[in-house]
Each structure stands twice: as C-alpha cells, then as structure tokens.
Amino acid sequence: MNTVQLSLQQTPSLDVPLRFFLTAPIFAMLAMLLWLIKGETLFINRWSADVLAFTHFFTLGWMLQIMSGALLQLLPVLLGVTFFKSKLWSTLIHTSLTLGTLFLTGGWLFELKILLQISYLFLLFGSIILVSILSFGLLKSQNTSPILISIRLALIALIITLGLGFILLTLFAFSVHISNPIYITKLHITWGLIGWTLLLIVGIAYQVVPMFQITPPYPHYFSRSFAPFLFGILISWTVGIPLDVMLIFLTTSFAIVTLDIQSKRLRKLPDITLSFWRFGMLSLIANALFYLTGYVWDFPQRELFQSVLFIGGFILPVIQGMLYKIVPFLVWLHLTNAQMDLTKKIKVPHMKQIIVDKWQRWQFWLFLIFFFIALISIIFPNYFAYLAAFLGLSAFAFLEYNLMRATQLYLNIRNQINRIQKD
C-alpha cells in the first residue's frame, strides 16, 4: 500500500482568523465614510492624500487583514502547514496592522507627519512578523502542490510590495528624497495587486473552488504553470520589458479557466460564493476588454474606471465570497471538534445554517448595486458619488453584521459546550 506520510497539525483557535475577518469590513466602511464626506471631490486628483487614505483602507485594512487571517488559519487547516505559536503572532500582527493602517490613513487625512511616522513603526513591525511567520511555515512545508507554489510566490510579491511601500512612506513620513517616486508607486501598485493579491487568490482558488463549489480541479497544465509564468512576466515587466498585454492575457486566462470549471460543477446547487466568484471573474474579463479598447478609444477617467473594475469588481467580491465559506466552515469545524468528547452531544448547526442564506444573498445584491453605482459615479461624480458611498457603507456594514452573527452563534454554542464540560 502506497502511504503518504502526514504531519499532524495544530488547528489555531478560531479567534486567530476571526479578529482579521471582523476588522476588515470596518476598514472598508471607513473608506466609504471618507467617500461620503468628500463626495464628488474625492477622486479629482488620484495622488491626493485623501485618495491614498481611501486606497489603503482597502489594500491594508481590507485585503492584507483578510489575507493574513486566511493564511494563518487556512494553511494549517487545509494544507497541514504548521505555524509556531500562531495565536501570539497573529495577535501582534493584527494589532500592528490595525494601528498602523489607522495611523497611516490618519496621517494622510489630517496631514500630520507624526502619525505617518508612528504608522511606519507599527506597519514595519507587523509586516516583519507576518512575513517571517509565513515564510517559516511555507519553507518548512514539504508540500510542492501548485497551491503552495502560488502562495510562496505571492509571499515574495508581498515582500516586494511592502518594501516599495516603505520606501514611499519614508518620503511622506520623513521627507527623505527618493528618485522617481511615480515609477516606484507604479511598481508598488502592480506588485501589490497582480503579484501579491492575484497570486494569492489564485493559490487559494486551487483549493477552495474545487472543495466548496464541487468543481473538477483546475487543469494540471494551468495550475502548474500559471503562478511561475505570471511571476516571471512581472519581473520582466519590472525591468522594463513592455509586457502589459501579456499580464492582461494571463489574468483573463485565470478568469476563463475558473468560469469553465465552475460550469462543470458536479452538483449544481445555488451558492452565494459561486455568485460572488462568477461576478469577480466577469469583472476581470471586463477589465481586460476595457484595457484593450484603450488602444482605439480613450476617456479621461479610464485608469480610475479600471481600478474600480479590478478592485471593486474582482478583488472585493472574490474575498467576500471566500469569507462566506471560510467563516461558517471554521465555526462548524471548531464547534464539532469541541463537542466530540461530550457524552451529551450538542447539536452543531450545519455549515449552511451558520450565516442565513437569505442575508448573504441580500448582501450580495446590495454589493452589486453599490459596484455598478460606483462605476457610474466615476463618469458622473456630481450625481452618483454620495449614493455610491452610502450603498458601499451599507453593503460592508451588512457583511460585518453577517460575520458578527456567525461569531455570536459560535460563542453561544461554545458556552453551552463549556457548561456541559464543567458539569
């Protein structure tokens, strides 16, 4: 019999990922509040301090928070990667990232350098711990699956993104002269969005899409080659080889392959994560089409429009879809694990009952309306900016509410289990 050697992993406690997942929507709500306050003037100058704060509410406050939580919990649970003292490290990472993001955005919004300087320390501290703990766990693992190859490359992209970010922050916080900040900003954005975020989403998709959406696996030729190829293209692009079209082609290929395997689902049940993901993949394709039409037709807000398509249409829905699977699954898993020893069993709700399906669906539609109004507001800011901001605020508040309900349900049942254990 051909046995596979397995290492036993310690599943981190549930509050390790939940603190990240519950904080992230609050940052998205802060971004929307900022938009609500600034209205149609927010995006007039894309390099303004307000826009920098707005984007970092999402990139640091939303994306990095959720992805840190997902990696620290999902890698042990789904792939058997172990992290030493994950609760301690995750507390430090979460606190540093949260405070760092607040000081950073506050520094920009209130034009206070001292806040930017403090943010530098918090973000540097949090980033070093995050990168170290992830590197240690990923290097130690013997697993050479495409999932881990993609995640390892995403981690390298994160290190590059953060490094470039800190170089730029020295300019804002300490007025240190750096040459060509616009070029460094372009690298920072591309490595952050295409390198870190996309590669990580792709790596997680290899596991999460077949597992939760009951699809066939991603084709072997695709999963083996996509991440190394994309990473190679990014490096070539960085050193000045004009490969923008190749990057667009690759990102679109991920969307097409994902839509294809989703169309071959082995059980065709309605599923909110599937809706979020399909919408995300269609946005990715739309983004590519808009990019390509740029060669023959242009309009002034093109860059901003495409940013909204990529971040608002792809990254935000895909991550929300993931949260609606990961959070109920982890709640169910931890409760099932906790009640196994009891002679008097407590009924653990099915995963689908942990966040009410109807509320997930309403939140999805609310987010969708927000997204389309946000797109329209880029073209007609005078009429739609406030409405978009209000809808966005409502959509993220609704997401937070759904996640809080799942947390509350976990705590209630966990208390019942604790009471029985005491008796």
């Binding site: 046995t3 596979v4 397995l6 009951i214 696996p217 059980r267 694990n337 196994m340 995963m351």
Partner: protein
C-alpha cells in the same frame, strides 16, 4: 469484521466530515472505514488523533484522488485486514 465504504466525493463541506464522524461512531470491533474523497481532509486528522483512531491515506487513482482507511487504534484485526488489501 467489515469494511465500511463511504463515498463523499460529491458532497459539499462540511458534509464529508460530518458523515465520516457519524460513521466512525458505528464501527464495531474488526471494522474499518474506507473513505473515498476528492481532497485530503486535513481537519479530520486532528479529530481522529484526539479520539483514538489511526488512519492511512493513499492516492493512486485519478478518479478517486484520496482514499482513507480509518480504524480504532487498538483494533488489531481491523488493522490486519487493511494490511491484507
């Protein structure tokens, strides 16, 4: 002595884990559980270890990406039956 076969390949999480844990409670002396799975169920291993089960995982067929054999730690008969396969 019996091999209890459980095919969870077409089930959504958390059903595979739920069904495996339910079936494990029904194992008699000499019985072992043979699970057909699409993905390696890492969360299950910790539960198995905590509750006195042993397991072997194999991956030899593209149609059945993961096969698991689970038996009670002290059940020599079940273990021998798996070894004889």
């Amino acid at each position: 002595m019996a091999a209890i076969r459980l095919d969870v390949r077409l089930l959504e999480p958390c059903e595979p884990l739920e069904q495996i844990l339910t079936t494990l409670n029904t194992l008699s002396n000499g019985d072992y559980l043979h699970v057909l799975h699409r993905l390696e169920p890492f969360p299950l291993y910790k539960i198995l270890q905590q509750h006195g089960f042993k397991w072997i995982v194999i991956s030899i067929s593209p149609d059945i990406p993961i096969e698991l054999f689970i038996w009670r730690e002290n059940d020599v008969v079940a273990y021998q039956a798996i070894q004889d396969l």
